[in-house]
Amino acid sequence: MGLRIEKVSKTYGDKKVVDSISFSMEKPGVYGLLGANGAGKTTTMRMILNIIQKDEGEITWNGKKVCKDNVRFGYLPEERGIYGKAKLYDQLMYFATLKGMKKAEAKEATIGWCKKLGLEEYLYKPAEQLSKGNQQKVQLMIAVIHKPELLILDEPFSGLDPVNTKIIKEIIMDLIKQGTYIILSSHQMAVVEEYCQDIVMLKQGKTVLQGNLNEIKKSYGRNNLLIETYQNIEGYIPANFKIIDKKANGYEFKIEKEEDAQKLLETLVENKVVIQKFELKEPSLQEIFIDKVGE
């Protein structure tokens, strides 16, 4: 069951933009596709949707080819694009019908979604009158209007204000509850950490990290030490502690062994330092990303 991507590759000219990527989604949820710009994320997504032909490998949905007849899929491209001159209602109806909905269903869905996203007043206006954020909501509507089983979101939050980000987050949460398989690509690691159980990280078309996000983090070990205090404790810090972050109310260190943290805590307590918070953490996805993809 679900989506399987097996050893998929794509070459443009003499550049291998996607190099033998494999991953699978056995159950509904969000799969994170991470990587720097030009890592091959969009190409991978387009290959999954069968709008770009892969050179090698296999992509299947429940054992069958991914195409309109076998799976209802939705796609939110990274580059936003809607018909500027066409009325919102007309183009939503157009795409809904193309995606196989009957006229009555399409109408209901169109009006329903516009109400949900607060775009009712624009329903019969040309789409170019909408703000950029609203146009993005329209694009998302087009991607999800036909209740897709497989949804691919390429940078769904770029350029959105906090209010609209919240609205779209809620919609994604709803879709997960409804059992949608979602592949999400984002540069915002906080977003990915929030949704994705599994991730694959690409660097120049190659997989550099893959698997369950919690396990990946665990494998990194709890090497981040967070101490919140208003006192200066720098005199007690061993030489092998690396300061990652220094704030008004504390520090974040990179340490080598968990035992070192224990020793520091004992020293601090002995010296009667007042500590608000003392926490050993796994690294954030941001750090992992920079570690794997950076340099």
Partner: protein, 415 residues
Amino acid sequence: MKDMITILKYTIKENVTKKSFIITTIILMLMIVLVCNIPNIVNTIGGEEKEEQSLKYVLIDHDNIIGNDINALVEMGKTINWEIDINTTNTDEAIEKIQNNEIDGMLEVLLDEETKSAKLKYTSNGSIYVDDQSIINQFISMIKTIQINNILKQANVSPESLNIINADIEYETKHLQDANDNSGIAMAASFILFFAVYFYGNYVAVSVSSEKTSRVMETLVTSTTPRNIILGKTVAMGLVGLGQMLLLIFTAFVSYKLFIPPEMDIISSIMGNMNINIYSILICLIYFILGYTVYAFLNAVTGATVSKVEDLNSAQMPVAMIALISFYLAYFTATVPDSSASKFASIFPFSSAFSMPGRILAGGVASWEIIISIAILLVTAVLLAFISIKAYSGAVLHYGKRLNIKELLKLSKEK
């Protein structure tokens, strides 16, 4: 198929509700109505003064040559809008009237003492309008007729003979060879077809490239297949074009019937000369559809190769060159319909749509020529459809530098 119809309907709606399309159509319709009204406009502007202001002349018959027939002459003058005054007999008085612009001229009929024949003296203020030689000629012939009749009467010629002499000679013309040159029709037909085929084909390129530029394309290709998109669009634009053309032709027909005065109806006589029947109209329609299809597919691919609408013009150059050369080939061979160049033009798939309809309307094309020409055009259209669907699929998601033919072929193979 269902998707294709959805795209077709949407494209038609999108295009016919466009302001530019509606305005262009209305302007063209108004122009047709205006052109058909030119005779009426000319009549109302120029005609009125002419009719109201008849020419006024004083006629002085010094030697009583016209005699009793002078009243007949006045009547005759009325038929050509002359007002002839026979009551003024004083030359000086008449000249004064001319100088005061009360009359246009003075005609004096005298007897030539030597030859004993009539002599005419014409005095006017010298304006070109009044001094028309044809006016004087008409007058001369009137006097001459009167004089001849008088002499014949004196010679006791019977009234019957006089009637025969005075009767107008009827004449009729008959051409052993068809002197009416139909190449004008063929040229006009190739002109109209070229514009229709090229203009509406161009719409397809603009539509495809604007979808690509606005990035709607990505959403569109994930909603349906490239094949449906390209076919739906092409057929839709063809129908829009056909609809607009039929509307314009209908407008032309109605306004022609309504506004053109019957005496100016030259088209009917030309049409009478043309080979117009249901069959030839149907053939013309087929040529429009197939010719349009060929160019529309080429345009769809062109539209798909560019990432910016600004690049479209330069990308269209090759297709435009093919179209222009083909059009000129058809246009100039229209004057020599039996030449081998003309035969080539009506069989070559890129020019046959511009060449053949005109030749068929002008008459004299063998059925086998038409069949071969349509067959070649049809095969080309189908072939181009296949190629362009492939090329289109390869090119629509390519952004960046404009694709050249080599890259295009490579992308099409990959797809």
